[in-house]
């Protein structure tokens, strides 16, 4: 391939997927609209529900950063969400720390946990990665069941909502909502910035063709690890804020069902999209509140949504109306099961699957 061809590919990729560097005017308008909508929402909708929605949207966004950019499907994100929830709850109730310190502590915990889990799990790819994260999260679940500090089946309840920075009265549900909205929107912009940074481009290159990224000299494992830690940290922040909303932390937060729920939110919203996680969280939580009287049906409905989303709407809500790159729809193999052909294509670099992302990297590396 010549440099000129790569440049063409880069431009194509940028225009086709909207994943060029820097913010675009259309996105800025969209963000202002989203922010305005969320800021006005408490006029119409119960603030506790909205705050919960933002917590889960933040969680789904953190998860989406990992799966959408790096292509790493974690089945264990509940351990960061629920683990941070426990740390926040314990710090606020038992140690009686100020709210902001408790949140910081919990987020730091998630970062460290993410580093440890990431170091182990990124050593394997694809489905093994998913199974390993699930297994490690299950181990963490058993740890939480056994530790006296978590309160076992009762969890930690009646957590005080002390004023943030000793002045902001978050005991008021509406004030808390705007505090969480501020956090959410800051993280939203941060994730957007990460996605559109050179770091995000390298992540997508690794996702689409890891061997080529390695051959270009990228320290692939470091990129993946950093993506994992970022995702875990933001998930932890989401779990920590959730404790302030409900004033409790329980085993449900660390159970595998919670990991499944966040995957569903990201999938329904649109994997790899910017506003998808927010839409997906809104969809799932609305569904949950409709089915409140039929709670035992919830797993069945969630399962159905999973099946329909994968088979009919794999792009999710945001992806169906926007047009993100569909890396997961690439031809993996023929019906007869030819993984051979695909391996050859990968190895020889003649892959027609998605050369765009790596070309982006190639041209960046050469300019």
């Amino acid at each position: 391939m010549t440099i000129a061809m790569n440049k063409v590919a880069t431009n194509d990729a940028a225009s086709a997927t909207g994943q060029s560097n820097g913010a675009r005017p259309r996105d800025t308008l969209l963000f202002i609209a989203v922010l305005a909508l969320l800021a006005l929402a408490p006029l119409a909708i119960y603030p506790i529900f909205l705050t919960k929605l933002l917590c889960f949207a933040l969680f789904a966004m953190a998860f989406n950063l990992l799966v959408g950019q790096a292509g790493l499907l974690s089945f264990g994100h509940a351990m960061f969400f629920g683990g941070s929830a426990y740390v926040t709850a314990y710090a606020l109730k038992v140690w009686a720390l100020p709210t902001e310190i408790a949140i910081l502590l919990a987020t730091a915990f998630a970062a460290v946990a993410g580093l440890l889990v990431g170091l182990v799990s990124i050593r394997r790819h694809g489905i093994y990665f998913a199974m390993i994260t699930l297994a490690l999260a299950q181990m963490f679940f058993f740890l939480c069941v056994g530790l006296p500090a978590t309160g076992g089946d009762d969890g930690i309840t009646a957590i005080p909502r002390r004023a943030l920075f000793s002045v902001i009265p978050i005991a008021d549900d509406k004030v808390l909502y705007y505090v969480v909205l501020t956090c959410f929107f800051a993280c939203f912009l941060l994730v957007y910035r990460i996605m559109h940074s050179p770091f995000g481009q390298v992540l997508r290159a690794i996702r689409d063709n890891e061997a080529r990224a390695v051959s270009l000299g990228y320290q692939v494992d470091r990129y993946k690890l950093l993506a994992f830690v970022l995702s875990a940290t933001l998930s932890g922040l989401a779990g920590s804020l959730k404790v302030l909303v409900f004033r409790l932390a329980t085993l449900t937060d660390v159970a595998w069902n919670t990991s499944g729920e966040v995957i569903l939110m990201a999938l329904v919203g649109g994997i790899g999209t910017v506003v998808g996680p927010l839409l997906g969280a809104a969809f799932i939580l609305t569904l949950q509140s409709w089915l409140q009287g039929l709670a035992q049906w919830m797993p069945v409905v969630q399962g159905l949504v999973f099946v329909v989303a994968v088979l009919v709407f794999p792009r999710g809500i945001a992806g169906t109306f926007g047009n993100p790159r569909l890396w997961w729809l690439r031809r993996r193999r023929t019906l007869s099961g030819s993984s051979e052909a695909q391996q050859n294509a990968r190895g020889s670099g003649a892959s027609a699957t998605s050369p765009a992302a790596t070309s982006e990297v190639v041209s960046r590396a050469r300019t």
């Binding site: 292509g71 199974m131 058993f142 049906w297 794999p314 099961g337």
Partner: protein, 293 residues
């Protein structure tokens, strides 16, 4: 009576028997996952739910159709396998072209539906199933209930039969060939998509058979499969999905190890398999029996 590191020998032997039984379930389930993965290249997240279906199937057969245990032992795996085949034809087949992560999500959704429906209909508390072979034998150093011995024998037989089928029959040879070179096998006039379907059905039948065996051990519950399958995932990561023998050996070994941990340091017993998994990934990422990816 002699003590082994401070534990009375009968107690230790009893725990080890339970460990062998858990190991039997790990072996059968990881074997089913391995067989399916070999052919379909997908991780069947529905495996745990299909195990649960097997347990509920034997209970339903007794409750509604008055089919005794031994009849259900044959019938239930066939019925659950038929359901699995329908799912493969109608659902799984559509996602073979998609990224493997989406196949995982589809089978996860199927598992949620099955377990959700079972708990809507039967509630989440357990249903009892009578032990078909009560009584046991006094071995002198311990009392061995017949049913526990039966589980271990039945599981070993199922694993051995699977190994013979895949490694020693013509059908198995086609299967192994189709795993390696699907196009070439097709040009020989072998219907590869049908082999994929049958392989899935076979893997599902193994899960259902394990469920049937498990039903009289404990209560039949909708959630019995999901907890187990996560442990089996760890077993699969430790063993690597390369070999049939590997799955079986690792399954039994980990069941025994878990039992030993329960005897000597109970708090770690639920975590020991996951800890070993972590160690294996750090030192041999492809798993003990895995081929390099």
């Amino acid at each position: 009576m002699d003590d082994v590191f401070g534990i009375p020998f009968p107690a230790l032997a009893g725990q080890l028997t339970l460990g062998l039984i858990n190991g039997a379930f790990y072996a059968m389930l990881s074997l089913g996952l391995t067989v399916i993965f070999g052919m379909l290249r997908l991780i069947n997240f529905t495996h745990g739910a299909q195990f649960t279906l097997g347990a509920f199937g034997v209970w339903m057969a007794m409750q509604y159709l008055k089919v005794p245990y031994w009849g259900a032992l044959v019938l239930v795996p066939l019925v659950v396998a038929a359901l699995g085949i329908v799912a493969e034809r109608t659902l799984l087949r559509r996602v073979y072209q998609m990224d493997e992560l989406f196949q995982l999500l589809l089978t996860f959704g199927m598992a949620l539906i099955i377990e959700g429906l079972l708990s809507v209909v039967y509630g989440s508390s357990g249903l009892p199933y009578d032990n078909p072979i009560p009584g046991g034998i006094d071995l002198g150093f311990m009392f061995l209930p017949y049913y526990r011995a039966w589980i271990i024998v039945a599981s070993l037989t199922a694993c051995l039969a699977t190994w013979l089928l895949i490694e020693r029959t013509t059908l198995g040879a086609y299967l192994r060939a189709a795993t390696e070179r699907p196009e070439l096998v097709r040009t020989f006039g072998i219907n590869v998509p049908r082999m994929i379907t049958l392989t899935y059905g076979f893997g599902v039948a193994l899960a259902a058979l394990a469920g049937v065996l498990a039903a009289p051990m404990d209560q039949v519950k909708p959630a019995m499969g999901s907890g187990l399958i996560i442990t089996v995932f760890a077993v699969v990561v430790i063993g690597g999905m390369g070999s049939i023998l590997g799955s079986v050996v690792i399954g039994f070994a980990l069941g025994l190890l878990e039992a030993l941990t329960k005897v000597y340091y109970p708090p770690a017993s639920s975590m020991v398999i996951f800890i070993i998994m972590t160690a294996v990934i750090l030192f041999k990422p492809t798993g003990l029996f895995g081929r390099p990816a």
